[in-house]
């Protein structure tokens, strides 16, 4: 089953990269086994115009999540550094498949 541009959900409840078939997680946590890297927001490119410290007291970072196999970028966010990632998904329909 298609999840997004990069991920497929298999009948056994595993989520895998559509490009290299590496497992990235499960239906309830599709990116649980993916590679995470945090770095400066400016690494997102020249569109991040000014340092966050000019405007806010909290540090801001670019958090990127990659396929552990082919390193395709699965998710990217620029967020306060002291916050966990709120961006999650859980596909109930495949959770049921996991129990099969």
């Amino acid at each position: 089953m298609y999840i997004d541009d990069n991920l497929d959900l298999a009948a056994d409840g595993t989520v895998a990269c559509r490009h290299c078939a590496a497992v990235t997680g499960t239906a309830s946590d599709p990116l649980g086994a993916a590679l995470v890297r945090e770095c400066a927001p400016q690494e997102a490119g020249p569109s991040v115009r000014a340092e966050a410290s000019n405007f806010a007291d909290r540090d801001v970072l670019l958090r990127q999540v990659f396929c552990p196999g082919c390193l395709v970028l699965l998710q990217a966010e620029i967020v306060p550094a002291d916050e966990p990632s709120w961006r999650t998904r859980s596909l109930a329909v495949t959770t049921a498949r996991e129990g099969q």
């Binding site: 990069n6 890297r37 405007f55 699965l74």
Partner: protein, 663 residues
């Protein structure tokens, strides 16, 4: 000074109630028209479609009437308004295509009016009620003034029509009612709960005086009031004709059927989508001038069978500032993106759509605040951020379906780039206006296409940007440029639409300069997120240049084309700021594009090369973000690009520090 709690303020808050409850309460004082379910079910398909489309066209006519009578550029040229037709208890049968955010809670205001005003002072033919209290409904912040009107047919209240438009100033500490230093609502325009401003077809002078006295531009606001009266009158004339031709019962049956149809078709679509939950977050930096906080709205969207639950648990508490929104703002944040992404092939009858949606939200949070929280910026702050997070979750849900994923879209222009000018215009009259250039925001990328460059805003399907010449004619300003900005669209396999910038000077005011109010977050972090590996759009970027020689350059026949050309002393403008622009000062404002979709390293190199040629993407971003090497003629060098991408793929994941070959 601390925000002083207001005793009894909990009674100010209004929440949606069932049609049956509204009917029960109001029915004691007023005769409400109704039809039987059998009549609704029995309406023939041809009659249904003819009348339903007529209702749609009436909302468009309301918009045309409003634009033709208004004198505000915000309305006439930028379409910052909307109109709707509601049934006898306020359920929305048809919403106009203009700013759907504004009209998303008209139903709440009408229902409140029926429950609270039907007995005293009463609701009769020719009456119209004015409201700018977002705790009641009808708009998202005090500038969104709604005017809704009951239509009586044969002695019964048959339906309501409503028009909402952004008024450029309704008082408060700062011009434009945009008090950037506000800690609570008492710094702002004081909200007016629904009040009968038109009675039996005549404007009540006493009420109008109370309304207008607060404004710095009362004549303009008075004209807009008449424009909204005109819009309602046009709608009533058309609806009466419709009832005369087909019978009131038939028209009402179509109204019911349209809402039922919207509900059933939405349920069918939801059933096709996989069950699951999608959680995301939307941030805002700064709650008022001087504040350096970052605030979040968290949404968990759960789809089970044919229902959706929008659960905002985890959202930050309301804050002492102007960025909060009420429950009406929260609804206004959800419905616009819901209409455009999920309901493109479903009647825009929110009265039926809401039946499929549950909302979980804690009062006292930034997108469900309690009185007297500051809400002066609600529409483009927490309501907008609600749209952003709803866009992510809804699009994530759609992305999991092979067909419906084609309707998803990454987050559009992450926020409204608010710049307001006030002072004395070139004709010697006082003026206040919001510059609506950021109506040309970048749309989010889709799963199969780039976002539309300067394509608009998710919440305003028919939003427009005023011509440069119109702004220069209407206000004492002169543009140095307004143009698309490279790299402002979020990188991705499909790129987010680019945003743009404007650069202008005060010009021809007898005072020499103008007053400037800035309220534009997204500077500490971008607010238009990408999806499925797409990167966010660029950050908001505003710069004040003081003491420039721009007038000498213009006198010499040279038009500066960049900030470096302009010279002077640069000031990075914070998210909330209020200042004066002197005759030698220049203001540069650069708003956001749309988020990207998919990994940028999977973008067709030829598309990147075309973007560089079209100045949508810089050569630097082509190399550093897309890994594309461009040959001497500007075409992508595919062999070198492949090498670049292989190296960049490892480097961005932190696996080694090897520089890309083309970097």
């Amino acid at each position: 000074m601390p925000v002083i709690p207001v005793d009894g303020a909990e009674e100010f808050a209004n929440l949606p109630v069932s049609a049956a409850h509204t009917r029960h309460v109001a029915g004691a004082s007023i005769r409400l028209h109704d039809v039987s379910p059998e009549l609704v079910d029995g309406i023939d398909p041809l009659t249904y479609e003819v009348i339903r489309h007529r209702l749609t066209s009436i909302t468009e006519e309301m918009g045309e009437a409003l634009k033709r009578m208004s004198g505000s550029v915000v309305v006439t040229d930028c379409n910052d308004f909307d109109a709707a037709i509601m049934d006898e208890v306020g359920d929305v049968v048809q919403v106009g295509l203009y700013n759907t955010e504004l009209a998303a809670s008209l139903d709440m205001a009408v229902s409140w009016t029926l429950r609270e005003r039907a007995a005293r002072p009463g609701i009769g033919p020719g009456d119209m009620f004015l409201c700018n209290d977002p705790w009641v409904g009808g708009g998202l912040h005090q500038n969104d003034v709604s005017l809704f009107a009951p239509l009586f047919v044969d002695g019964e209240l048959f339906c309501w029509t409503g028009a909402v438009a952004h008024q450029v100033d309704l008082g408060g500490v700062s011009p434009g009612s945009w008090s950037v230093a506000a800690t609570d609502v008492f710094w702002e325009s004081i909200p007016l709960p629904p009040v009968k401003i038109v009675e039996a077809g005549e404007i009540r002078d006493d009420i109008e005086d109370v309304y207008l006295r607060r404004s710095r531009v009362p004549k303009l606001v008075a004209l807009d009031l008449r424009a909204k009266i005109g819009a309602n009158n046009v709608a009533h004339e058309r609806l009466r004709a419709l009832c005369q031709k087909y019978g009131a019962d038939t028209v009402k049956a179509v109204m019911r059927r349209a809402m039922n149809d919207a509900e059933s078709r939405l349920r069918a679509k939801l059933t096709e989508l996989p069950d699951g939950t999608w959680t995301s977050v939307a941030h805002q930096d700064s709650a008022r001038s001087g504040d350096r906080g970052i605030y979040k709205i968290v949404l968990t969207l759960t789809k089970r069978g044919d229902r959706l639950t929008f659960d905002f648990t985890g959202t930050d508490p309301q804050v002492d500032g102007l960025i909060n929104c009420t429950y009406a703002g929260l609804r206004g944040g959800i419905m616009p993106v819901f209409l455009t992404t999920v309901c493109g092939d479903i009647p825009w009858a929110p009265g039926g759509l809401w039946r499929c949606i549950d909302i979980v939200s804690e009062p006292g949070t930034i997108n469900n605040c309690t009185f007297p929280a500051g809400i002066g910026k609600a529409s483009v702050a927490s309501a907008w951020a609600t749209t952003n997070v709803a866009t992510e979750c809804i699009s994530g849900m759609l992305d999991a379906h092979p067909e419906h994923r084609r309707r998803m879209m990454s987050v559009c222009c992450g926020t409204w780039d608010f710049a307001l000018l006030a002072g004395v215009d070139q004709r010697g009259a006082g003026f206040v206006t919001m510059i609506c250039d950021s109506m040309a925001g970048g749309l989010g990328a889709r799963s199969d296409a780039d976002g539309v460059d300067t394509g608009g805003l998710a919440c305003i399907p028919m939003g427009r940007v005023a011509d440069v010449e119109m702004n220069e004619f209407a206000f004492p300003m002169l543009y140095l440029w307004r143009r698309e900005e490279a790299d402002s669209g979020g990188p991705g396999r499909y790129r987010g639409g680019v945003g743009a910038s404007s650069c202008f000077i005060p010009y021809d005011s007898p005072l020499g300069g103008v007053h400037l109010v800035v309220s534009a977050p997204g500077k500490a972090l971008p607010l238009a997120a990408g999806l499925s590996g797409g990167l966010p759009a660029g950050t908001q970027h505003d710069v004040l240049l003081r003491g420039t020689a721009v007038r000498a350059a213009l006198a010499g026949g040279r038009l500066p084309g960049s900030l470096d050309d302009i010279g002077g002393t640069r000031e990075l403008v914070p998210s909330h700021h209020e200042t004066d622009l002197g005759p030698d000062d220049v203001y540069f404002t650069h708003w956001q594009g749309g988020g990207g979709y998919g990994d940028p390293l999977r973008r067709d190199p030829a598309a990147v090369a075309a973007d560089v040629a079209a100045r949508k993407v810089t050569a630097r971003a082509a190399a550093d973000v897309y890994g594309v090497s461009l040959g001497a003629g500007g075409a992508a060098d595919l062999a070198e690009t492949e090498l670049n991408r292989a190296a960049l793929r490892r480097r961005r994941a932190g696996l080694d520090d090897t520089e890309t070959a083309g970097g």
